[in-house]
Amino acid sequence: MRVVVQEAPFDFGAEAAGFAAGRHDMGAVVTFTGIVRDLQGGGLEAMEIEHYPGMTEKALEKITKEAVDRWSLGDALVIHRHGRMEPGDQIMMVATAAPHRKDAFEAAEFLMDYLKSRAPFWKKEFSAESKTWVAARDEDEDALRRW
């Protein structure tokens, strides 16, 4: 498994290809990419993501290890950026590899649900009119209960 926290953009295609290459025992690879979404009606100039260096890496490693153990994954990858991004930029990706697709999909959803509300990242949206910290949603907390 690999966990990466970085400010720089990542190459989703190269990461996905590298992750999927070289394994003959994994029949399924699932990838998810999170992208900076514009505000409804447009106008988002930038998003800044703050994080807690040290705790971020620990929290992501713990969540990823749990996913690997629980779904017997062959491998898992989490890349999460911080700093300033613009609409359309890639924020993060997860990839999971398992012998069968059900485990790969479920593990990827588990990783997404957990890192959304248990990894120490905070998003702030900048538009011409306002600077707003993105509020956590109750649905995100509820999503953890199914696991």
């Binding site: 807690y52 705790m55 620990k58 120490p120 905070w122 910290w133 509020a135």
Partner: protein, 81 residues
């Protein structure tokens, strides 16, 4: 111990981290001490249900003991992904 603030908690208090001399036994007792300092702390810690806390980089709750703790961080609910 080091006390860290993130996101709007950092903005409201006006600094990202500081050294705090404290004998507080729990996170809640530390919060009471900070609240008593100045209005900006009282404002940041007004509603604890809007805050999360980590002790030594592990999420915990406001009843958590501080014995031996080196680092306490306060922040709003996380919005990763």
């Amino acid at each position: 111990m080091d006390v860290l603030y993130f996101a709007w908690v950092r903005e409201r208090i006006g600094l990202p981290r500081e050294k705090v001399e404290t004998e507080a036994a729990t996170v809640a007792a530390l919060v009471d001490e900070l609240r008593a300092r100045e209005d900006r702390y009282a404002a940041a810690f007004e509603d604890l249900s809007a805050l999360r806390v980590a002790v030594d980089q592990e999420l915990t709750d406001f009843d958590a003991p501080l014995a031996g703790a080196r680092e306490v961080a306060f922040f709003p609910p996380m919005t990763g992904g």
